[in-house]
């Protein structure tokens, strides 16, 4: 089943053409990464799918409905780049906030269980200000998926972290969140290895206006782990995508 479908989507901000003729189809359970230089419209695209922006032209469907309808059904979870946490609520209460708003009792797991799974069992009652950047991001992701939405949208969730924490969180995300889940994920990143590591498909966007420049299907076995990163196949994908990015930015 098609989870996300964008047909001839354009987005203008005043005279700036942010997105140009985006046609994208994401199957249910598929993990698709969007990669490209700053200003290529990745976040705008994600915000359109989340119902936070309206396209200037074109059609957007999520499981056959407009995004706002799917939001009403609480089937979209968004992990923003900056953790969307209330400073006055503990990690547990921040996760519970999602359930309070959606009115769902629990998703697949309770807030305690999900935070335990995410390695935050000892920090349930810690406030965001007491957590490290990586921990905050894990709480942020828990907030986005506690109500078990069908679609998970992630805007550079590990972007502000150092390389080691980022790799560690990526591996944790692959093992604890993605493996054996049927979530449809649209993932924005600036990191080529991160995109390859998680994705079934990597889509390269070109800047000003943002257009789909090239698409790569990633055929790497799952579950993916640390060894995947150093496999020949992985490195080959990385080389190809980097070449495309350099070609696009430098014009060859």
């Amino acid at each position: 089943m098609t989870a996300i479908m964008l047909t001839a989507v354009h987005k203008w901000f005043g005279s700036v053409h942010a997105l140009c003729n985006i046609n994208l189809k994401v199957r249910e359970g598929e993990f698709v990464s969007l990669i490209g230089p700053s200003g290529c419209g990745k976040t705008t695209l994600l915000r359109i799918v989340a119902g936070l922006e309206k396209p200037s032209n074109g059609e957007v469907e999520t499981f056959g409905y407009p995004p706002l309808e799917l939001c009403k059904r609480h089937e979209i979870g968004v992990a923003f780049q900056k953790p969307a946490l209330l400073a006055s609520r503990t990690a547990l209460n921040n996760v519970m906030l999602t359930l309070e708003i959606t009115g769902r009792k629990n998703g697949a797991k309770s807030p305690q269980e999900i935070l335990n799974d995410f390695g935050l069992g000892e920090f349930l009652n810690s406030y965001p200000g007491q957590l490290s950047g990586g921990m905050e991001q894990r709480v942020n992701i828990a907030c986005a998926m506690i109500h078990n939405p069908k679609i998970l949208l992630m805007d550079e969730p590990f972007g502000a972290l150092d390389m080691m924490t980022r790799d560690r969180l990526s591996e944790w995300f692959e093992k604890k969140v993605l493996f054996n889940s049927n979530k449809t994920v649209l993932f924005i990143t600036h990191s080529v290895p991160e995109a390859i590591f998680h994705s079934d498909r990597v889509i390269v966007l070109s800047p000003t206006p943002g257009e789909i420049y090239m698409e790569f299907t990633i055929n790497l076995p799952r579950p993916r782990n640390r060894m995947t990163r150093v496999s020949d196949c992985f490195l080959e994908y990385e080389r190809k995508i980097r070449e495309v990015l350099y070609e696009m930015v430098n014009g060859g």
Binding site: A50, H74, V78, K82, A84, L97, I101, Y127, G129, C143
Partner: protein, 249 residues
Amino acid sequence: MKPWKAYLIMMISLPVFWVIVIGLFHPPSFLLPPPKLVIRVLAEDKGVFWHHTKITLIGALTGYAVSNFIAVGLSIAFIYVNWLEDFFTPWTVVIKNVPFVAIASILVITLGDTPLPRIIIVVLVTFFPILANVTKGLKSVDQVLLDRMQTLNASKWQVFWKVRWSSAMPYYIAAHEIAFTGSIIGAIVAEWLFAREGLGFLIVRSMSQYRTDMLFAVTLIASALSVCAYLSVKLIEKRIYRWRKEISS
């Protein structure tokens, strides 16, 4: 240094300093009465002081409650009705800047010797800091939290109560720090201008009778009230924002 120790030192230092000045310069008691004289006046006339303090407190608290009700209500309206803030800004600027001493005289003439002018003056003194702070607090909410609420299809009430109000609370508490003590000062000044009861009235009466011991006693009571108001706000802040302390420790 622990804050309570600093307060204790101040409370001990003041009378000590007072006694030293009297011991060194021997001013006549109608200019600077000794502490024991002021304490004796306080003890002898405690019924009178209590009556007038009660009047001032009732005026200050009533005015402050009205002020909070209007200012918080208006701040919330500013967030949800876009044109309202632009419409009311000139009014709030006038309220903030017109000298309330002048308004007080007009109020006495129009409303007579009733508690109403006192309450209105307290409202005028305390209204603006609450309005400005709460409005700023409600607007200061992190956009990413509003986006999260939108994707979860939160109702307007949920967004307000769970996100906006939570974000505005530190600003609201900060407003109380200024405005709550301001309400007591406002009530006293209002009484000073026209009332026949209250601490402000006692000041006027003591001045006309050259009762400096009485004046000092009233000053002590008024200062104690203002300090208590300030400390009670700090105490509430500490209780509500336990998380801030825990983060900083």
